[in-house]
């Protein structure tokens, strides 16, 4: 049974409410996780997956509490290993819809290796990485996505770690679906969640999430009305890269160099702008590097949306094909034959 036929077995339509568990949600009041939970609970019913075929897998961290709040199957596991656990589950049960919830520490610090290996193997799993650029659960140490110079409990003089660019890392690991969204934009987030589901292969969605206790306002500039339009770039396939309060700015490519242009200046036209192509690896790479510190002058806006998509076989499909092909060529294994082996002798 594939995920799609499973879809059709769905009997009655779920509602967001059906996905709420009897467990009290225990994030700090104001935490960005609430909004993400809500959007997930809203989108899932649209997808027509029977509740019993959904599994949420997580590691450890504030974000990793997620499965407890989803009335589906769920595994809250150990720090950094959700990707590996989900790989095993998906290899065993390809027909399940597996969602993985992880944090910047969980996925990129302790879990970095399983993360990149999942991307290259391309299991058909949806990874939601709640990036708050901090360790929430352990009360505020810097994470591999914290900015250079970050002052935290473990770096009172500022961090000297150069942070990962999660989009670039995922590209380098041959991820087949790479996207970014934010907790504070429900419409966009829901859209991205749908896209994750649609993609066959590992869908990696980075979600900027505000930790209002230990890293409040880390993404304010991208999420708050006052600055959002200036500082963000919502990309859509086939559409030119336009941003700004009144869509008055655009990005064009000068050779390999992206340049911000002022569309109010008549010498510039929307038609010259870079048109987003999700399937162009090189351009996705350039877009992924729009990652400057917004405090720097002449910085680029931060892109949101789907950076890159590629079709590639999924590990579990290839594995099952092998099994099916032997089964059809050799037939189902005979245990007695296996026990007997190649060469036997009799003792009377």
């Amino acid at each position: 049974m594939t995920e799609n036929t499973a879809l059709q077995n769905s009997e009655q339509k779920l509602t967001a409410k059906d996905l709420v568990t009897d467990q009290e949600v225990r994030w700090c009041p104001g935490c960005g996780d609430y909004s993400i939970l809500k959007q997930v609970q809203t989108v899932i019913p649209e997808l027509g997956i029977p509740r019993e075929n959904l599994v949420f897998v997580s590691g450890i961290g504030c974000s990793s509490r997620f499965p407890y709040y989803m009335e589906t199957y769920g595994m809250h596991s150990i720090h950094g290993r959700a990707t590996a656990i989900a790989s095993g589950l998906k290899a065993a049960r390809p027909e399940l819809s597996v969602w993985l919830v992880t944090g910047d520490g969980d996925a990129l610090s302790i879990g970095g290796n399983h993360f990149i290996h999942m991307l290259r193997r391309n299991f058909n799993v949806n990874i939601l990485l709640f990036n708050n650029q901090i360790y929430g659960l352990t009360k505020g140490q810097y994470s591999p996505t914290s900015e250079e110079g970050k002052i935290t409990k473990s770096t009172p003089m500022g961090s000297v770690d150069h942070p990962f660019n999660p989009i670039a890392l995922a590209m380098g690991a041959d991820g087949t679906f790479i996207a970014r969204s934010m907790d504070r934009d429900p419409v966009h987030l829901k859209d991205m969640l749908r896209r994750c589901h649609q993609h066959k292969g590992t869908s990696f969605l980075e979600i900027y999430q505000n930790c209002n206790v230990f890293n409040d306002g880390a993404f304010e500039i991208f999420t708050e009305k006052k600055t959002k339009k200036q500082e963000t770039l919502f990309v859509e396939n086939g559409k030119p890269l336009v941003f700004g309060a009144n869509n008055e700015k655009g990005v064009k490519l000068d050779g390999f160099t992206p340049v911000i242009v002022d569309l109010t200046d008549s010498s510039n036209s929307v038609n010259d702008l870079w048109v987003h192509d999700e399937r162009d690896r090189v351009k996705a790479g350039i877009l992924g590097r729009f990652f400057d510190n917004p405090a720097h002058e002449n910085h680029f806006p931060r892109p949101f949306g789907v950076f890159y998509v590629e079709d590639r076989f999924c590990y579990e499909d290839a594995l099952n094909e092998q099994i099916n092909s032997v089964l059809s060529s050799k037939g189902k294994g005979d245990l007695n034959k296996l026990l007997r082996g190649r060469e036997v002798w009799e003792i009377a």
Binding site: M75, A86, G88, Q322
Partner: protein
């Protein structure tokens, strides 16, 4: 000239040569033929640590020991009767293992100046000439020269010709022990079905070796080793890792579950992965993970998904799995963890055997995280032990440790394999509907304290599991102090309670009370059993009990222990079972410890028996 024929009860032959000399194949062929003739037997290969250590050096010596007989054989044996040495290094490395007066068959070409130098032997100390072998019988054959001569004009290159010289030795030994060539010829025909010239050459040389024995006077004796009085039935030869792999498949088949195996290669466990990867037609999903943590994690995922899930590694890899094993303990899901132990600590002696990971299996996790531990005794026994580990895992919803070791993994012995129908049933039923009056309690327990297995895809049983302490029955997170103590004790009781569902401990041999009991576990089985037989024949009647279950111990183990004045525990470690037994039963058991990366010899144990009994 007619040659004398002598009947022998048992023979130990060590085939030794350079890694490139094909001694593993020679040994295996001789073994298979012995098996077909009805001898009981036991074998153990001894690989060099390097992939291909420089040719001719001491580090490059590869050996294969075969013990076969017309009596029951329980181990590859102690000192050898016959040593085949293809070069000087092979002789130097193995001579101390040969019985005084034993037979040495050498390939003289392997003792030329170059080979002596590579073996660090001064040229004037060539053992073939300097009298140092006077206490042995030496048969010198220039195998290389004879082989080349026989294949002159075959059209083969010198390298290919030389590669068949092991067949000469095999043929010669077949002659000496009165064995037919047919079985090996059949083997060669299969192996070289597509290389006719090489096939012909090999058969020719095999026959040449036989003929050489027949016609020359290198040896005036031939030997007969009659069939052993083995229980009637059909037998095959099996190695430990293979047996473990088949055990997993058998348990999956009998429980009606698909098998998932997540593993990362490591010596000496990798062959389980290799074997399983070949059986995709049993629906086996073998997964080579990026590391050991991922390996066990994938298995945990598959287990949640309703597969029979297993992982295997050796010491260093098992160390990495500790955290995830704790998770499986909390989840209470079935999982089999195989540790093919090797010499430690750290990287240690990766190609050697040891039993020093027992306490790691019992205690190597944070918190109170009890896991049942099952041990395999011998290569063939690895099948049953693995099957039993699976059964416990499934019936008790728990991770289970299966301990094997390098000696079991690579050793081989005849196996009176079972029929699928004869295997103990393993009953697994996924929960299909709510189990508590319209409610679902994922941690509600049955009389075994085992919880239900409700897998994704089952409508109405959606639930969440995690590594934080759980509330009794509901499985919800609970930080409640009383509940924590209750759950810690409950998980402990569940594992200890397995003692009520496993067979009582039996004596393997010896009187049921008296002066001395030898208590063993794992691969010391054959050596202890043989030692007891020998000691008994010298008038020292020690009893022998061998543990299949190291945690929990069988219910009646204490009773048995208290029946003897002394308890001796031989182990290839510093006394790990010893510690468990002493602390639990408060008896001053005595340890016999060998930490050489090598199995015990029966002699070592016999000596200790006699020391303690006289």
């Amino acid at each position: 000239m007619s040659k004398q024929t002598e009947i022998l009860e048992r023979v130990i032959i060590k085939f030794a040569g350079d890694s490139g000399d094909g001694m593993q194949l020679t040994g295996t062929q001789f073994t298979n033929t012995a098996a077909l003739l009805g001898n009981d037997l036991s074998t153990f290969p001894d690989f060099p640590a390097e992939i291909r250590a420089p040719q001719g050096t001491l580090a490059g010596v590869s050996g294969f020991q075969l013990h076969f007989g017309s009596v029951n054989i329980y181990s590859p044996g102690d000192a050898c009767d016959v040593l085949v040495a293809m070069n000087a290094a092979a002789l130097k490395v193995n001579l101390s293992q040969l019985k005084k007066g034993g037979l040495i068959i050498v390939n003289t070409e392997g003792f030329d100046a170059k080979n002596l130098r590579l073996a660090n032997i001064p040229e004037d100390k060539n053992p073939l000439n300097d009298g140092s072998l006077d206490n042995y019988q030496v048969i010198k054959i220039d195998v290389t020269k004879l082989t080349r001569a026989a294949l002159e004009g075959s059209g083969l290159g010198i390298k290919e010709i030389d590669r068949s010289k092991n067949m000469f030795v095999l043929g010669y030994l077949y002659w000496m022990y009165n064995r037919p060539l047919e079985n090996s010829i059949k083997f060669l025909e299969e192996k070289f079905s597509k290389k006719k010239d090489i096939l012909d050459a090999n058969i020719k040389i095999l026959k040449a070796g036989y003929a050489y024995g027949d016609t020359t006077e290198t040896s005036l004796r031939r030997y007969i080793v009659n069939p052993a009085p083995m229980p009637p039935g059909t037998y095959r030869n099996i190695m430990g890792n293979q047996a473990a792999a088949i055990g997993l498949i058998a348990a999956a088949e009998k429980s009606g579950l698909p098998l998932f195996y997540g593993s990362y290669p490591i010596t000496p466990a990798s062959d389980i992965l290799h074997e399983l990867a070949r059986h995709k037609n049993f629906g086996v999903r073998s997964f080579q993970a990026e590391d050991e943590i991922a390996a066990i994690s994938t298995a945990i995922g598959a287990s949640f998904g309703g597969h029979l899930a297993a992982t295997a590694s050796s010491g260093p890899g098992i160390a990495l799995k500790g955290e995830a094993i704790g998770l499986a303990v909390m989840y209470e899901i079935p999982l089999v963890i195989i540790n093919v132990q090797r010499g430690g600590p750290s990287t240690g002696l990766p190609t050697k055997t040891e039993q020093a990971d027992l306490l790691q299996a019992v205690n190597g996790r944070n918190g109170e995280a009890p896991v049942p531990v099952v041990a395999a005794n011998s290569p063939a026994d690895a099948f049953e032990a693995t099957y039993e580990a699976c059964r416990l895992a499934l019936e008790f919803m728990t991770p289970v440790f299966l301990l094997s070791d390098g000696y079991i993994a690579n050793g081989a012995e005849p196996w009176k394999f079972p029929q699928a129908d004869d295997l103990k049933a393993i009953k697994v039923e996924f929960l299909k509907e709510k189990n508590a009056g319209g409610k679902f309690l994922p941690y509600k327990r049955n009389e075994k304290l085992s919880r239900p297995w409700a897998i994704p895809g089952t409508k109405g049983l959606e639930h969440r599991i995690g590594g934080i302490e759980k509330q009794h029955e509901t499985g919800n997170i609970s930080y409640e102090p009383e509940n924590h103590e209750f759950m810690v004790r409950l998980r402990n009781d569940k594992v200890e309670g397995i003692a009520n569902y496993i067979p009582e401990q039996k004596l393997d041999s010896g009187p049921d009370k008296g002066k001395l009991l030898i208590l063993g576990w794992g691969s010391t089985y054959g050596a202890i059993k043989t030692a007891c037989i020998h000691a008994r024949s010298e008038g020292f009647d020690a009893a022998h009990a061998h543990l299949r279950y190291v945690k929990p111990f069988p219910k009646n183990l204490g009773e048995i222990l208290y029946n003897y004045e002394k308890v001796l525990i031989p182990e290839m470690n510093m006394g790990q079972l010893l510690m468990l037994i002493r602390s639990k039963y408060m008896i001053p058991a005595i340890g016999l410890n060998k930490i050489k990366g090598l199995p015990f010899t029966a002699g070592e144990i016999k000596d200790k028996i006699i020391e303690l009994m006289k």
